[in-house]
Each structure stands twice: as structure tokens, then as C-alpha cells.
Symmetry: C2
Subunit: 628 residues, 2 copies
């Protein structure tokens, strides 16, 4: 059996875009237009300048409730010399009424003294056209209401109607046809079989493209057969303005997209010097852009963000919106390849005067790195990376105001932090929690360096058997950070349901496949302490180097059979229906920088932690105790 | 005949909101919920925290095209000691395939040396789980994907599906029922009869509310009959979550809204201490907000912006988005009433280091003041106004980036400026033009004080008969501003078609009703020059004090019969099909601050002005000449 293998190009992103957009323009790619009612034209883009067809108001309209008069009849009125208006001198009018013939002003109702005999007295005069909205006061016939290319707003739609423009010619919304491909791809389900991959990319694309004004049609999933994909592409090119083929964009055995586009049109670029997003295809068939997107969601999102959105702008004749950025301090070193420009997802938060920038996991398959991301840090090509502490510019994915109001909680993983975040949301707290799993030692580092308000730690002093205290004393000898509050939680070995390997205590890990936690994690320190206690050589443990970042990740691998046991907390074992061999109860505590001890966000965090709701929730989750 | 007259309250905006929102909460106003598919949940708001139901990936998936192996079989491989993999040692896999049983790693296709006999050679080892996406790598079952109250994004929708969450419970979109009322109100048309007012407010409301995630149902127009409006309100309360009654919110003869709400529920506030927006009603019927909106569009927009949007947030349980602001320098004095807080629409633009803030016309009927507005300047209650030159904080209606890239052209009104703006848009210029009509003397003031890049002037030196030159020499003796380019245009008297009053020359304005231009306008200076020449006393002119700001506004009033004649340019007369009595050809020229002479935006402006397209357009408009 042989393996086909082609290499991709490694085209610079900007070069690729220039080449591709040039090709699209030359091929005749352009927008369509349609006439639509002005009353449903909000957000649409005008083809041409629009001029008012009528004036607004289009007649002289009374601007007040009161009496319409000839202004000259009131000129002599004063407090000492009131003027009496007989019924023939005035007409009672409401706001919006046409000014009666022969009148050129309106006296406000408040200024009319009712003589109860059909006459009114006035003690001040009105000038001509007072309290009258003269023809064209707002909009004059012939005036340009909006120039071409304007994106209409609610008030512009109102102005169009006021100016008698009931229909407008606008740029058609580009229709993006999305073709999901792949033998293993299935429609969303909560019970996929082994080897089935849930097709969620098209949902992400739909949202991203609808958000910028495109329409999206998702075609049925196509199997990895060249003829089938080719037929689907031809149909989509016929029906849509932009075609996106999801997956199959690389150069593997089942990657047909490039070949298909070549045979029906032109492949401009195949392979970009970016990460994620490398295996992208920029093609054109019948003057329409046909883009091959990588199958990994994060790669595809980057290609949509960096290229497809600009294709939509090209269609609409609009300038792509400027990307807002913010400057911040990188919390952790980023290593990058010279070959690629990298788009690193980051979390952001303000600590004191600085915005801290924390990189998220970089795997192309980690959609959760986008859901948690506040911004994108671009590491340029030809750079080997960026050092911790460097000032960097980050492109925002969320409003800066939201980021400013962030409580940063970092450190050891415990689901309790997510639960507190949820309870804060429910309580309408005017800030959010941004949390990351960097382990207990990571928490100490972050609090020490002003990168987090709160750090979650459970650090066993292997000499005293005590938790946390000695570490805090060692790293914060000046008392600049304190333990504020914590919970007790049961740590133990998570093993398969029914404990088939008959694991009794920690010493049994010598004879089974283990899954470990990352260095710096409190649970890792516990593991190493226990290894020492039982005099076990780590090198002899199968899986000692297999490191995970959370309790649930360890539980998931035990449940899947990737490992036979791992250390973790009871609540994680419970979710995965694993057996649990309790080893100890530890103190999971929250370290707070003295500086932020009385910060309202920090206070609110601990209020929630001490509340009854949290107590109930912890009981529900299991394996926790609350102590004062 | 008698006139009903009630007074409105004058409740402080914040007090009114506090009282009203408190009442709504107490009355039981709350959001509804619905289950929807996660694939169409973008932008929706989660009711509860959502946890992953399955892991993603939910099986061990190959992360590369290549060969799946048992890692331990590769440990001895090196350049000097290659390992040969026989067909029984490996399985060919594609990215996404399930890892075959017995394997725990994948060798990338690039690292396989094909021996063409079914065997591969490798010269480096793989470690366990290398190139494998282990179960839960992205999302672990039981992990919280998003806390309650989260507004879903495209990537969160993807993460929900990846985590096996195919449906989510979200907050129902609030349905806002809009009831347009009024005897004079008609559906949008380009030929309304006298006294008919085009109903465009509901279109503005629809756009504003849909933009923040509400759904809008506009009911048919209801005549000013109490029973009819009452029936419509009851129906809307039954069918919608929020009811808006458009017009009839004041205390005039035909204003029934307050009475109707009182009879069916509660009126919390009637009359706000704001301008525009004073005659608003904040009411509640059957636990639903029922709000009476003023009929004037600008007043209604302010009430929607300040109150209705927050009612939508209250329903959705979201924090109203923070309003972005910018600091700038006020270009013109604003006088305000102590009684009201005022919301002044302003135009913004950057000139050098400063953002200039120019107030727009303040009439409640001027929808175009909103279409042109870049921001809202709030003048507090108990303030008499703000002086020119003061630093003010403005709430942005447009992105700051757009405002930063603005060429500010001010001065005398000529439609040519709008035409240039249009041509710049068509040419994809990376900036916009912001223009205002402040007259020629206003242009000199603005350029002198750094409030505009370019000023349009046509100033007749009544001594020499020359245009502009002597003014520029007088006001810029240091040469800090220059005339860059201009056009010739014919000024004359615009009179009714057929010239029924037999107006022959300017001296005839003694015997007719005149409409004038504002002080400082070049056309006003021409008028005053001609009055002097013909030795006519301005005080004797009927309408001398009737001032308009644009040529089309003057033409509109002559066409409507509000005046018999006015001075203006030929193109305006042409639009209104008026007769035109030419008086002179004047130089309309563009004054540029020396500082901005070579600014790219300024250059582009003059390129367009000198282009062939502009020449053709000027011919089409009529009455213009181009000179070098």
C-alpha cells in the first residue's frame, strides 16, 4: 500500500491576498444589486447616491398645538395691550396639521387666554413662520440624503422615507455556499459513534459570515469522492456568490479540493505561511471565489477571519472594518516558527495599570481556544517568538470595556471557579471572570508578578504534610499576598468502573498505565510526593510523561482506556462514572495579592464562594468540604 | 371652541428610569425562554450554564495523515539505526481517523520512507500519543462551555456542538409591538397629499430595536380615536413583550395614550426633563412595558436610545452596552435650558491633535440631524449651555476610526461638496467627508481656528467687486491659508415658474415676499450688497428676517409659496422647476489651511474636483463653470 504525498506552498499571507484579490478582480468578480423597500434597508449598502424626491415636511406644518394666525395681526400684543382674537382671526390646530391658508404662524396653546366666548386673548406677538415647520425644514427635494456606498442606519432609512424615497438600490447580500466534506463527518448529535466527527464548522462559518452581512447556505455533507465533491462545487458555484469547501484542502490522500478547483477554474494559492490556517486553497471558478478551508476549526476560523471576510468586503465594495487593538504585557513566552506567521489566541485582563496578555492552547483542533479568546496576538513570520514581559499589540475580539472589567483567577484547575463565574453572571455582577489552568505554582508566579488577582493553589509541603502555608511564606515573605479562603476536596485515584485491575492504593501505579498532570500542578506535586513516599522511580511508571491540564481531562482518558488510572478530584471521577480510591483531603485555597484584597471584584468572588448557593452546588458536585 | 390643555411632568431622566424599572420588576416583567438548535443560536443569550455532554474529540483521533503504530515499536529508530515497519506493524491513517486498536501514536507521512514493498523505514521514534488527538483534547465531558447569561458567538455555537449540546435554552427575543397612530399619518409614499405625514418612525424604531436583538412587529396605522387606539394597545399587549405607541404621547387634544394606559394599567411617568423627548409616557399594562413615544422622530429616537433599549436589556437580563465616548473641543456655543437635559447631535472629525465637535440643528423634527450625527453631546440639566472651545465628552454613534479619517469641509452651502463626497466613496477613498453649512464667514472662522481642513467661500468685496481674495488677505495676513481651487456659479433670483409677479431685477424685492439666507453666508453678503447698490432699506423688505441655510431650502420655500423670491444658485432653481433671473457669476472657492495643503485627503478632494467626472456632473446640474 502506498501513500500519496504532495507538498503545499508556503505563500506569505499578504502576498497571497494581493495575488488572489487581483485575480478575482481581473476575473470579473463583482457585486450584484437589488431594489428593496427603504423600510427594510437597515444595514444595507447603497449602490448610488440617493437624493430626496420630496421635501420634508412637504407642506407647511403646524409645529405646536394652538391657534394658527396671520402673524401681522398679533404685532401690537403686549401685557399692557392684549390683542383679542375673534373666531375669524384664528384656526385651532394640532401639531402636524397643515397651516391653514392665509396664516403664517401658530400661537402655542399655553399662550392663549380662553375668554370662553369663542375668543382668545394674547399678550405677546408671534413673528412670521413662528411655530411652523416650513416646507423642507428637515430635508429639501434634491438634497443628497446619502452618498453611494453608504451603509444605511435606522435613521437614514427614516430619512429616505421622509424624502419620498420608498425604494433603494442596494448591494445584494453575498450568498456564501458552504460545502462540508468528509467520510467521517456527521450532523450534530449528542451520541456520535467512534470515528464520526460532528460537523460544527459550518455553524461557526455561518455565524461569522452572517455577522458581517453575508447570507449563508450550508449544503448537505459530501463524502470524500472526487466526483461527488466536484458536482457539489459546480452546483454551489451556480447558486452562490462565494463558495467555501470545508476540509480536504490539504495535500493528503483524500484531499481533492485543489484538483477539482484546478479542473473547473484556477487555483491561485495553495498553502499559506500562517499557523493555524496553512492548508488553505484560494481559487476561482466562473469569476466566483472558491476557497478550500482546512478541516480543523481553528485553522478554518483564521482563514475566514483573514481572507474570506475581506472577500465579502470586496464583493460589497466596502473597506474591511479596522481591527481594534490594545497594548498589553505578555504573561508567558511564545515560541514561534520562522516559517509561519502565527495567530495566537489570548486572554486579556486589566491588572492595575497593565493589560495582561495570556496565550491560550495553540492546537488547530482546539475550538475552545477561540471561545475563551479575548484577542489575537499575531507573531510575525521570521520571528522566533516573543519573550514574557514584552509589550505586544493584540487585536481585540471583545469590547475593551468588557476586558477592563475582568477578575483574573488563575492557577490550579477546579470546576468551582467556573461555578463561581456562573453565579456571578446570574447575580448580574458588573464584571466577568477570566480563568486559566496553569497549576498551583503557576498561580504563585502569576500573583507575584501582577498577572492575576486571585490564584487557586493546593500545594502540599512534603516535609510538614501541611498545605499552602509554607509556600506562601516562602514566596511572599513580605506578606504581599495572603490566603483568603478555600475549600477541602478529596484527591484520589480515578480508575475504570468496577476497578478491573484491582488497584488498591497509590503503590499500584507501578503496574498500570498512568496519566499524569502537568509540572507545577498541585496534583502533580502530590503524585511526586506519593512516589517518594512509596519509593517508586518515576521513570518506571508507564505514562508518567503523559501530562494533562485538568481533572476532567485525566478522567476522560481513564474513561476512554488511554490510561488505567490518574490522580484527581472526586467530582471529576463522578462525571465520568469512574471508581474512585480516596487518598487524602487537601486544602484548595485562594491566594490574593494584598493590593487587591479589598477590590470590589475580589470581595464579590469570596461572597459567592461563602454563599449558600455555592454550598449546595458543592454538595451536588461531591467530594468537597467547606471550612472556615 | 375650546382647547384642552394639560401639563406634563418634568421628571429627571435618571429618576424616571429608576422609578419605571423598579415598577416593571415589581409588576413581574421578565424574560421568556425557548429551546433552539445550537447551530442557529449565534448572538442568543444562554439561560443557564451549559456543560459538555461528550468529550471532543470523543475518541482518540489521528491528528496527521500517516501510519498509526505502537510507539514502543519505534523507540530504537535513529539515522544510523532505521527501523523497518512491516505491514503488520502499522495502519495507514488519515487525519481524523480513529486510532486503530493497539496503536498509541501516529508517524507523519513526511517521516515515512516508502520501501515500495509494503514496508516503511523510519529514522526517528514517536512517543506515546504523539500525533494523536486524545479523547477530550479540546473539550471534556462535564466541563462548563459557557456560564449563564453568555451571549453566544459563532465559535461558542461550534463548541456547543462539539460538546454534544445540540440544543440550548436561551432567552426569547423580546417582541416589540409598534403602534403608529395619527389621523394625518400615511404609509410611505413619494406623493403624499398636503396634511399627510409619512409614517417613517416605525422604520427607525424597527432598525434600532432589531440592532439590539429584539423582534419588531409594526401594527397598522390607527386613527386618533380613543376606542381604536385602546383596542390596538390591548391587542399589542396580548401579543408582544414590549409595546410602543408612536405619537399621541403629549397632552394635547388628540393625545389619548396616557389616558388609555391609565385605564388599562399604570402610567409611571408622563413627561421627562429632557430635550428632545419630553412628552414620553412610561407605562405598564399586565406586567408589560407600554411606552408612549413622541411623534417627532428625533424625540422618539432619544426616548428609544435612553429608555427603550434599557427595557430590552432588562428583559434579556443583560447589562446595557457601555456607551463609548470621546473627548473633543466644542466648535460653537450651545445654549441650553436649565429645565432640561439636552441631547445635542454633533458631527466629529479630527483636525491635527484635536477632535472637533460641531453641533447639528436641534429641532425635534430634523431626522437629518441624526443621519448626519457622529455622536451625542449631553448637556446636563441645570446647565445654561457650553461655551465654544470647551472640552466636552461625546457619546459616539460611529466608530472612532471612521471619525479619525474625516476630511472636514465647512462653509458656504453648495451641492458640489456632497457630489465630491459621493465620488470619493465611489473611488473607495479611505476617508469620508463631513460637511456643514455655516456660511462663507463661518468657513473663514473654522479654517482660522483649526476646526476644518477646507472651507467653501464666495465672499464679494463690495468695494472692488472681486471675490474672496481681499477677505483671505485680511483674515490670513501671514498666508496661513490659501485659495486652492474653485468653480464659477451663477447667482440669481429664484421665482415661481412663469414669474407671475413679473420680477425683473433685484430692486423688485421691495414689493414681494422675500426669503433670505443666514448672516455670514456669501449669498447674504451678496443680498446686502445689492440692497446697498439699489439703496433699499432692509427693514422694508418683507421676509428679510426669514433666514434659511441652503440654496435648496430657499428654493423649496419659493416653490411652496412661502415666499415670492430668494437669492440662490441656478442648480437649486432647476431642481424645483423655478424661473431664474441671473444676477452675477461668482467665484465659489476652497480655502485650505497651509498646514493641510499637502494632506492626502485634501489632495484627493481636489483631484476629484478637477476630474472629468466632476466636470460632467457640474454640466448636468447646470449653472456652473470650471476655471483654472
Amino acid at each position: 500500500m502506498s501513500i500519496k504525498h504532495n507538498y503545499l506552498e508556503n505563500t506569505d499571507l499578504n502576498e497571497a491576498k494581493q495575488k488572489y484579490f487581483g485575480h478575482l478582480k481581473d476575473s470579473g468578480f463583482c457585486s450584484g444589486y437589488e431594489m428593496i423597500p427603504s423600510c427594510s434597508a437597515n444595514k444595507r449598502i447603497l449602490k448610488n447616491a440617493v437624493y430626496a424626491k420630496i421635501c420634508s415636511p412637504h407642506y407647511n406644518a403646524c409645529a405646536m398645538d394652538g391657534a394658527a394666525v396671520k402673524a401681522s395681526a398679533t404685532y401690537s400684543a403686549s401685557e399692557t395691550n392684549p390683542v383679542l382674537l375673534s373666531p375669524e382671526d384664528y384656526t385651532v390646530v394640532d401639531t402636524g396639521d397643515p397651516l391653514p391658508d392665509g396664516c403664517d404662524a401658530v400661537i402655542m396653546v399655553e399662550d392663549l387666554i380662553d375668554k370662553n366666548d369663542g375668543c382668545f386673548e394674547i399678550i405677546s406677538s408671534v413673528r412670521p413662520w413662528q411655530n411652523v415647520r416650513q416646507v423642507g425644514e428637515d430635508i429639501c427635494m434634491g438634497d443628497m440624503i446619502a452618498p453611494s456606498g453608504t451603509q444605511l442606519t435606522p435613521s437614514l432609512c427614516g430619512a429616505l422615507l421622509a424624502g419620498g424615497v420608498t425604494e433603494v438600490e442596494v448591494i445584494k447580500k453575498p450568498l456564501a455556499g458552504v460545502i462540508p466534506t468528509g467520510d467521517e463527518i456527521v450532523m450534530p448529535t449528542d451520541s456520535p459513534s467512534k470515528g464520526e466527527i460532528i460537523e460544527f464548522n459550518s455553524t461557526v462559518f455561518r455565524g461569522m459570515l452572517e455577522d458581517i452581512g453575508a447570507e449563508v447556505k450550508v449544503y448537505p455533507i459530501v463524502k470524500d469522492k472526487k466526483e461527488l465533491i466536484s458536482a457539489a462545487v459546480r452546483k454551489a458555484v451556480d447558486e452562490s456568490d462565494i463558495v467555501l469547501v470545508s476540509a480536504g484542502s490539504s495535500a493528503g490522500r483524500d484531499d481533492y479540493t485543489s484538483e477539482i478547483i484546478s479542473s473547473l477554474g484556477t487555483v491561485c494559492v495553495h498553502g499559506l505561511a500562517i499557523k493555524p490556517g496553512k492548508p488553505a486553497i484560494l481559487g476561482e471558478i466562473s469569476s466566483k471565489p472558491v476557497i478550500g478551508l482546512p478541516g480543523y476549526p481553528v485553522s478554518a476560523i483564521v482563514v475566514i477571519e483573514e481572507i474570506v471576510k475581506d472577500v465579502v468586503s470586496l464583493y460589497c465594495g466596502t473597506t474591511p472594518p479596522e481591527k481594534e487593538t490594545v497594548k498589553g504585557i505578555l504573561s508567558k513566552r511564545i515560541v514561534s516558527s520562522l516559517k509561519y506567521g502565527e495567530f495566537v489566541r489570548v486572554q486579556l485582563g486589566r491588572i492595575g495599570d497593565e493589560i495582561s496578555v495570556s496565550p491560550l492552547p495553540r492546537g488547530a483542533g482546539i475550538i475552545s481556544s477561540f471561545t475563551k479568546a479575548d484577542g489575537i496576538l499575531e507573531v510575525e513570520r521570521n520571528s522566533e517568538g516573543i519573550e514574557a514581559g514584552a509589550q505586544v499589540e493584540v487585536r481585540l475580539l471583545k469590547p475593551l470595556k468588557e476586558i477592563e472589567n475582568t477578575l483574573i483567577v488563575t492557577g490550579s484547575h477546579d470546576p468551582v471557579i467556573d461555578e463561581i463565574a456562573d453565579m456571578l453572571k446570574k447575580a448580574d455582577a458588573p464584571f466577568r471572570i477570566c480563568s486559566s489552568h496553569v497549576g498551583s505554582m503557576g498561580a504563585i508566579h502569576a500573583v507575584k508578578n501582577g498577572l492575576a488577582h486571585i490564584g487557586g493553589i493546593h500545594l502540599l509541603d512534603t516535609e510538614t504534610g501541611e498545605y499552602n502555608k509554607s509556600y506562601v511564606e516562602k514566596y511572599f515573605p513580605d506578606g504581599s499576598a495572603i490566603i483568603k479562603k478555600g475549600i477541602g476536596r478529596i484527591q484520589g485515584l480515578m480508575v475504570k468502573k468496577g476497578n478491573p485491575l484491582k488497584i488498591k492504593d497509590f503503590s499500584d501505579i507501578k503496574r498500570i498505565r498512568y496519566v499524569n498532570r502537568q509540572r507545577g500542578a498541585g496534583t502533580r506535586i502530590l503524585c511526586d510526593y506519593l512516589l517518594q513516599k512509596y519509593e517508586i522511580d518515576p521513570e518506571g511508571i508507564d505514562g508518567y510523561r503523559n501530562e494533562e491540564f485538568t481533572h476532567t481531562a485525566v478522567a476522560a482518558l481513564v474513561a476512554a482506556g488511554n490510561a488505567d488510572a490518574g490522580l484527581g478530584i472526586y467530582s471529576a471521577a463522578k462525571i465520568y462514572d469512574l471508581d474512585f480510591i480516596p487518598l487524602c483531603t487537601e486544602k484548595y485555597e485562594f491566594l490574593v495579592s494584598k493590593k487587591y484584597e479589598n477590590d470590589p471584584m475580589v470581595n464579590e468572588f469570596f461572597n459567592i464562594l461563602s454563599g449558600d448557593k455555592m454550598k449546595n452546588r458543592l454538595e451536588e458536585m461531591g467530594g468537597y468540604t467547606i471550612y472556615e
